[in-house]
């Protein structure tokens, strides 16, 4: 049986992990390679690296980092953040990334989705969508959720699926950072509308939030950052908890 996935997300700046990380037994908590290996050993099903470096210069550091991570990591990982061209994708995949995640650039230039899917296959393309509710309607936001658009979440999600996205990473800006649970209603609606896997993001605080998003939100995977980095939720314990809730888990 296909299992639901637990995905820690690591923010990367200039080749280093940002946000405090509260892992014991790490020589260098800022080293993404070591952190990635630690998460793989803990039973993470996949990892996402989100590069928040702004400049082209720094992006070269990212390609090197991807290479180093791929050398040690024996589980799949996705790289996102500022990808706006087919050449960026090519570099990252060649250095060993399994998937890339595109967000604002895909919204501004939807053809990019078709181009990446055509050249490298849908299996390596995650389209990330950030949205928040404005007057009861889910509206797509860009630039890390800062810039509102006029496009509805569900409408855009259907378009990205049609254009060849292999997966959607949906972050609710309303839930992100609250630790009050994922946007399960919107997630369930997304799963009804598109026939590609959906990763839930934003709002993880407790193990129950994960079972809720898999059961009520029909999410295929759940992504979180701080609850894992700060050790608030232990991945092996979380997976046992979820398995006890009859949610298929790789243990």
């Amino acid at each position: 049986m296909l299992t639901k996935r637990i995905i820690p997300c690591l923010d990367i700046k200039d080749g280093r992990t940002v946000k405090g990380v509260n892992f014991v037994n790490l020589r260098d908590a800022g080293d993404p390679v070591e952190l990635a290996a630690q998460y793989a050993r803990a039973g993470a099903d996949e990892l996402v690296f989100l590069d928040i470096s702004a400049t082209e210069e720094k992006r070269k550091t990212l390609a090197q980092l991807v290479y180093q991570v791929a050398q040690v990591l024996d589980i799949p990982f996705t790289v996102g953040g500022g990808i706006s061209a087919v050449e960026h994708v090519e570099t990252l995949l060649h250095n060993g990334a399994d998937k890339v995640s595109v967000n604002s650039a895909a919204f501004r230039n939807p053809e990019l989705i078709d181009q990446i899917a055509h050249k490298f296959g849908s299996q390596c393309l995650v389209v990330a969508i950030d949205a928040r509710q404005i007057e009861e309607e889910w509206i797509v936001h860009l630039v890390g959720g800062k810039q509102p658009t006029t496009r509805g979440l569900f409408d855009w999600a259907q378009e990205v699926a049609q254009r060849g996205a292999g997966e959607i990473l949906f972050t609710s800006m309303d839930h992100d950072g609250t630790k009050n649970g994922f946007a399960n209603q919107a997630l369930a609606q997304l799963s009804e509308l598109v026939n590609i896997p959906i990763i839930a993001s934003g709002g993880a605080g407790k193990p129950e939030h994960f079972s809720d998003t898999f059961q009520q939100g029909s999410a295929d995977a759940a992504l979180a950052a701080s609850v894992f980095h700060f050790g608030e939720i232990d991945i092996p314990e979380l997976k046992v908890y979820l398995q006890n809730q009859q949610i298929p888990m790789r243990i």
């Binding site: 049986m1 296909l2 299992t3 639901k4 996935r5 793989a40 099903d45 996949e46 290479y67 791929a70 050398q71 040690v72 024996d74 589980i75 799949p76 995949l93 060649h94 250095n95 060993g96 399994d98 050249k119 490298f120 296959g121 849908s122 299996q123 390596c124 292999g166 997966e167 799963s191 026939n195 590609i196 896997p197 295929d220 995977a221 790789r250």
Partner: protein
């Protein structure tokens, strides 16, 4: 031992190379040269993306007949395994025809692609030495190979299908052993030790 990884522009070859590095394999080459492939002790045939485009590249490189004619163990991974089959619904293209099965699209009732970790069972190949029934492997695919006499492991996603196939020296796995943790690594090692 010489290992050749077939490099025809349609596979995640970097991950396969790193997996061989982790296994301590000293001599492997990334190659599209027919002679080098023919003389290797083991051949790994990765693949990702669309079937028709991949077959076209194999034809351009004049590798189609080379691969079909190999007598040493060859391991097709993911699309590589699917290309071994007789026909693919993906682009409606004939495959290499080493195996008689067809490659079909998953039914619409399941999300596509299947993405993530699934269990493999009914293990019946030296590839799975020391691998327990229902081990988890990482998979990403929208098309599947139906059950057949050549099936040596199955998985279920909407229906039960061939997650590994074997005929003579030809081995195919739908999952990514290079991305499936220590047990995936073990399967690669088993192949190299055949």
């Amino acid at each position: 031992m010489e290992v050749a990884i077939v490099d025809y522009g349609a596979g995640n070859v970097q991950s396969v190379q790193f997996a061989l590095d982790r296994l301590g394999v000293q001599k492997y080459t990334l190659t599209q040269d027919p002679d080098q492939i023919r003389k290797a002790d083991k051949v790994i045939f990765p693949g990702q993306g669309a079937a028709a485009a991949a077959l076209e590249k194999l034809d351009q490189l004049e590798l189609t007949e080379v691969l079909k004619g190999l007598t040493q163990p060859i391991l097709g991974i993911c699309l590589g395994m699917q290309l071994f089959c007789s026909f693919s619904e993906e682009g409606n293209t004939p495959g290499l025809g080493v195996f008689p099965m067809k490659v079909q699209r998953f039914p619409q009732r399941v999300k596509q692609p299947q993405m993530g970790w699934n269990t493999i069972g009914k293990l019946d190949s030296p590839l799975f030495k020391d691998i327990p029934e229902n081990a988890y492997m990482y998979l990403v695919h929208s098309y599947y190979v139906a059950l057949a006499a050549e099936t040596v492991a199955t998985a279920t996603y909407g229906l039960e299908y061939s997650v590994a196939i074997q005929k003579d020296n030809f081995f195919g796995v739908q999952f990514h052993p290079e991305k499936s943790g220590p047990q995936g690594q073990q399967i690669l090692s088993n192949f190299l030790n055949l």
